[in-house]
């Protein structure tokens, strides 16, 4: 796993962005950037050479699921790994996210250990298919 990879954290709650940023720093990822919804995130993703996207689902403006769909539909971003970290925990929502091509799904409240496990799993899988 490349610890210099550029990560975008998208959440409308600044507290949650700060928590995820600190957890990622603790795991050795220092190159993190923040956006407060899909509309702010999208131009950053288009021009920012990001390696990884961590996004919430329920946000005012553009929702996380729509951001995921936009990423998968874009020829330059379609392979970007996406991790959803959200309080949305209904079965049909998880199915929807899987169908939209999500790489990992964490339900809030979550633990630092869960975040580490999901990151490891996502990058193991990507390495295996590369």
């Amino acid at each position: 796993m490349n610890h210099n990879m550029k990560i975008l954290i998208v959440d409308d709650f600044s507290t949650m962005r700060r928590i995820i940023k600190n957890l990622l720093r603790d795991l050795g990822f220092n190159n993190t950037h923040e956006a407060d919804d899909g509309n702010t995130a999208w131009p950053m993703l288009k021009s920012g050479n990001f390696d990884f996207l961590v996004t919430d689902w329920n946000m005012p403006g553009m929702q996380g699921i729509d951001l995921l769909r936009a990423v998968r539909a874009d020829p330059h971003l379609c392979n970007l790994p996406v991790l959803l970290v959200t309080a949305e925990a209904r079965r049909d929502q998880i199915v929807l996210a899987a169908e939209a091509g999500v790489n990992g799904y964490i339900v809030k409240p979550f633990t630092a250990q869960t975040l580490k496990e999901k990151l490891d799993k996502i990058f193991e899988r990507l390495a295996a298919t590369a």
């Binding site: 507290t15 049909d92 630092a112």
Partner: protein, 209 residues
């Protein structure tokens, strides 16, 4: 139509069906269903009248006006205050944790084993404090949703009151604000909600993610 009449019609219907007299059978059915229909309509009319009377009484009630005018906006303000204050508090906690984490790192790199162990424990404790702040996101989402609901109900009430005032021509006079009692939201997990990460993992594995 009384019980005996209905019974007689039912007998006629059976008898007509048995001898293959379809027109006579259809006629019996028509009479029976017309009767049901008019009974239903009468019930609907009664219920509508009751609802209309009850509704008119409620809407012209002064308390309802006070609730929509003062109590509900006040409740929204209080809820917004809770979101604001808990967010501020969470940020203060996070700032303190961020300041202490490098100190814990320094202890972790110390020469003495005892200090290193203290550093490791301090680091783990600070991470716990950090994670505990996520309540602010979760409760904040619930409260923001509640504020939206209160606002929607408030708007509907206001438009009802305006409609009633226009219909009756009774202006609603201002009185002292009514006292409202706030109770916290009760949150029950629904059956199709994945309340544990391992449930989510199982489902994703089924879906090949």
């Amino acid at each position: 139509m009384d019980q005996a009449e209905r019974l007689a019609l039912a007998r006629q219907l059976v008898e007509a069906l048995e001898r293959g007299a379809h027109e006579a059978a259809d006629h019996c059915l028509q009479v029976l269903s017309d009767h049901r229909g008019s009974q239903l309509l009468r019930h609907v009319a009664e219920v509508t009248r009751d609802v209309h009377q009850a509704f008119g009484g409620v809407v012209s009630d002064q308390r309802l006006y006070e609730i929509s005018k003062h109590v509900m906006p006040d409740a929204r303000e209080r809820l917004s205050y809770v979101v604001e204050k808990s967010e501020e508090s969470a940020h203060r906690t996070l700032a303190a944790v961020e300041e202490m984490l490098p100190l814990a790192e320094r202890l972790c790199a110390a020469a003495e084993a005892e200090v290193r162990e203290a550093g490791t424990r301090l680091r783990a404790g600070l991470t716990d404090v950090l994670m505990a702040q996520e309540y602010q996101d979760l409760t904040g989402q619930v409260i923001k949703k509640t504020i939206d609901i209160v606002e929607q109900v408030e708007q509907k009430l206001v438009s009802l009151i305006i409609a009633e005032r226009l219909a009756t021509g009774h202006p609603v006079a201002c009185a002292k604000p009514a006292r409202g009692e706030a109770t916290g939201p009760a949150i029950k997990p629904a059956a199709d909600v994945m309340s544990h990460q391992h449930d989510v993992d199982d489902l994703l594995a089924e879906l090949g993610v």
